[in-house]
Symmetry: C2
Subunit: 305 residues, 2 copies
């Protein structure tokens, strides 16, 4: 694939960013956070998760959040869906996209999803078959490594991508769930997945070991259509709040702009949205741009002269 | 240039890492920090700076540090030298290398060095001509951008590299002093500098806007011989202590190992050295590997099967 000059940023702060936070964020604050992100130019937002409220209490207000977000701004709202019951809820409240996770390691799949890899594929097939009118993403969790089993075979990831594509996925997302990958992993996985499907590729990186931005820029250079990120870089493990979040939307957008890749985001407004949710969480944010300040301009004429 | 399978890590924590810290670190602690780094496998250490003690009080004990570091472990010790008086001190206490900074923007050069760019080159020539027996590095500061002037022309950086090479430099280092660059900058600068000199290239990245690791891995992929980093990622601006340090040695070494690039470092021991200096500074460290934990293994057979 050729490098993209435009990439979609999928803002996942409202879902992946918040879901591990033990302090409950009010529905009003979640809606205000999403409104600020939309105002900053985000056009795909993973707004919530349709899981059992006992499992993820932070996402118990999924319907209320979806009822409150702006629907007249051209934004595509994504709900994380883990089973058919979740799909029913997602359909009922009018999300635009369903994100369905299939995990690429048996142990992690059992612990996280309560099912085997093969059962995960069947669950994806069932959800995809009934998700009429929704764009459906198959996110392959632990694509870059498993906290229990270590290395994950590339062939497993490619096989899952192929099966999900055959089952009707509209997009394949590769997730470095535990933040262990490096750019060479990205290249290897892109090659392997490209060999089995032409679907748009999306990537989900955590900056757990400081490799997330390198991976994201590599993915873009290899033709990724979309990247997940969270304003402020929220989304860390609850035991190390400022350490292991998603890559931050503002830092990613800075690097993309300087690389000459269009993301459509207003950096100052993303920083403001991050500051808002940081205040709600009462936590220091892993994102750096808000602290360091912008450095205006981009490569091109200036650098090449 | 072809990608390297080995890269030298130049540990700059004892110099760039500590120099902006307002709380004075004892000479004994500096020596213990360096000993821990040497024990972790570091073979090039920027140990101190020979500047006026009133300008950088933290480096006033340069001679005492150099008198205390282990000299029987095959380590090359580097001193930052800004003028001939500093060179005399460096020679007197037996450093192995002199690192001399020439800044690529007029305003920054005047503010940081008290001289114009052209005067900086003449100063480099004077120091290089008298640095008998020392390896001399020309570090081109603000190569990726200037906090006062904005974009820095690539032609200025290339011209400085050529002039310093002609003046006897043994190595050219390109420094992203304010942490604004992206991987495409690295490519542009490598191409421009490679057109004027075949000297070994070293890079100095700060992670100020979360692009430092991406830049470092790109530099290695383009044949960089050496990378600067600081254990723990210390070295930030005193006004934002945990935000804007050098790239962290342990996080860099992790990414290199997983990429299949040999750095010779023991990650656990680097983490321990970082924890030691973090305790001395009483500050949280920007490095992430010590918090996240290692993920053993590297690309290759495991990933390719």
């Amino acid at each position: 694939m050729a490098p993209n000059r435009t990439v979609e940023i999928v803002e996942v702060g409202p879902r992946d960013g918040l879901q591990n936070e033990s302090a409950l964020v009010s529905t009003a604050a979640k809606i205000a956070y999403i409104e600020a992100l939309v105002d900053a130019g985000v056009r795909r937002v993973e707004a919530t998760s349709f899981v059992h409220p006992k499992r993820v209490p932070q996402m118990a207000d999924a319907e209320q959040v979806m009822a409150g977000v702006p629907r007249d701004r051209g934004v595509s709202y994504i709900g994380l869906v883990v089973n058919e019951r979740g799909l029913d809820r997602a359909l009922a409240c009018g999300v635009d996209e369903a994100n369905v996770v299939v995990v690429a390691s048996e142990t992690f799949s059992h612990r996280n999803q309560g099912m085997s890899i093969a059962e995960g594929v069947r669950s994806f097939e069932a959800i995809s078959g009934r998700a009429v009118g929704l764009r459906v993403t198959a996110t392959i969790g632990a694509s870059f490594g498993c906290p229990f089993e270590g290395e994950v075979p590339v062939s497993t990831v490619a096989s899952l991508a192929r099966q999900c594509a055959e089952a009707g996925a509209d997009e394949i997302a590769l997730a470095d769930t535990i933040g262990v990958g490096v750019p060479d992993d990205v290249k290897i996985l892109v090659d392997a997945v490209r060999a089995v499907t032409d679907l748009p590729l999306r990537f989900h990186f955590h900056n757990t070991r400081n490799t997330g931005y390198a991976n994201a820029l590599t993915a873009v250079s290899l033709g990724a259509a979309a990247l997940d990120s969270s304003a402020g870089g929220i989304g860390g493990c609850p035991f190390a709040p400022a350490a292991t979040g998603n890559i931050a939307t503002e830092d990613l957008a800075y690097a993309l702009r300087r690389t000459g890749v269009h993301s459509g985001l207003d950096l100052d407004k993303v920083i403001a949205a991050a500051a808002f949710i940081g205040t709600e969480l009462g936590a220091a944010l892993p994102a750096l741009l808000g602290r360091a300040g912008d450095f205006p301009g981009s490569l091109s004429a200036e650098r090449a002269r």
